[in-house]
């Protein structure tokens, strides 16, 4: 059933055009990379602040309140450009295990980032950074690095993309 949907998606004329015209195909890649930098960099900075490795003299909320709104905007651009590239080759991606791994690791990274965002107000009120906070932050950083690694492993191991 998924493959059937994938075939419909992949044969859609808008999807075909956007992935085959060099200018739009390149634009999708540029948006996907650039928005990824704007998701991972600021998220990692908040995590590093929670770990005590950055901006120690100011509350975590200062970086968190600035960064999280645009992390989610950048993630929306990242997801949309990623979906359009996926759609252009959906039949190949759907059964591909390296692609499943990339999606799973990215989803986990997003969940841990949400946990950091929710935890920050509470962690700022505590006299020292709770151990739970540091564990969540380090897992978040490692998952984002893992998502990047999984992302480059998809073409390296499967030849797709």
């Amino acid at each position: 059933m998924f493959l059937h949907l994938g075939r419909l998606l992949q044969n859609n004329s808008f999807i075909v055009t956007i992935n085959e015209v060099p200018v739009t195909a390149a634009a999708l890649e540029i948006i996907h990379y650039f928005s990824m930098f704007l998701v991972v960099g600021p998220t990692a900075m908040v995590d590093l602040r929670v770990l005590g490795a950055a901006d120690r003299h100011h509350p975590v909320a200062e970086l968190a309140e600035r960064f999280f709104p645009w992390v989610w905007v950048a993630l929306a651009f990242n997801a949309l450009s990623g979906f359009l590239m996926f759609a252009g080759n959906a039949v190949a991606y759907i059964p591909e295990s390296t692609f499943h791994a990339k999606m799973l690791v990215t989803l986990l990274a997003i969940i841990f980032t949400l946990a950091v965002q929710r935890g920050v107000p509470k962690w700022d009120r505590s006299p020292s950074m709770p151990a739970t906070a540091k564990i969540v932050a380090i897992i978040s950083v490692l998952l984002w690095i893992g998502a990047i690694l999984a992302g480059v492993e998809v073409p390296a191991l499967s030849g797709i993309g």
């Binding site: 540029i30 990379y33 998701v39 690694l149």
Partner: protein
């Protein structure tokens, strides 16, 4: 001149470390991931300051304070991105050295963007002490943001021109 550059490229891509990356099953994606992780830190924190100069986000926290908070990891990210980028380049140096998109990226866009970035980092405290963010600060922030986007455009164009 062109011959010497190509000779240098051939020498580089035949060094033991370049051959090791090129012939290994797992090394190349790890080096790619290193490059992108460094870029996430570098571009993510650089563009953060650019956006704050443009007035995006919390205005109570001045751009200079944000720039100071990000300074260390900004340059750590740069070092990681350069190290990873150099290794990726060395794997097929001779091909990159005759690619117009690569030459534009490395020879023109990155130097311009880095010079502007350093200028912004040096000026940001002064701009923060003025009653309102001066137009030149906003212009510098916008220009740096657009320059990094053009670096990404040149990078993505490399295989299209190969």
């Amino acid at each position: 001149m062109v011959g010497e550059v190509v000779n240098f490229g051939n020498w580089l891509q035949n060094t033991s470390w370049a051959l090791a990356i090129a012939t290994s099953d797992w090394a190349y994606p790890f080096v790619q991931a290193t490059h992108f992780t460094g870029l996430s830190l570098w571009i993510g924190t650089s563009v953060a300051v650019d956006l704050s100069l443009l007035g995006v986000g919390n205005r109570r926290q001045p751009p200079s304070r944000l720039s100071d908070a990000l300074f260390l990891w900004n340059w750590i990210g740069f070092a990681i991105a350069i190290a990873g980028g150099f290794l990726l380049f060395s794997v097929s140096a001779a091909t990159y050295l005759v690619n117009a998109a690569f030459l534009t990226k490395l020879g023109l866009l990155i130097p311009l963007a880095v010079i502007l970035h350093v200028a912004v980092q040096k000026r940001v405290r002064g701009w923060g002490q003025m009653p309102a963010m001066p137009a030149v600060a906003k212009l510098a922030g916008l220009a740096e943001l657009l320059l990094w986007l053009s670096v990404a455009t040149a990078a993505v164009s490399i295989p299209y021109l190969a």
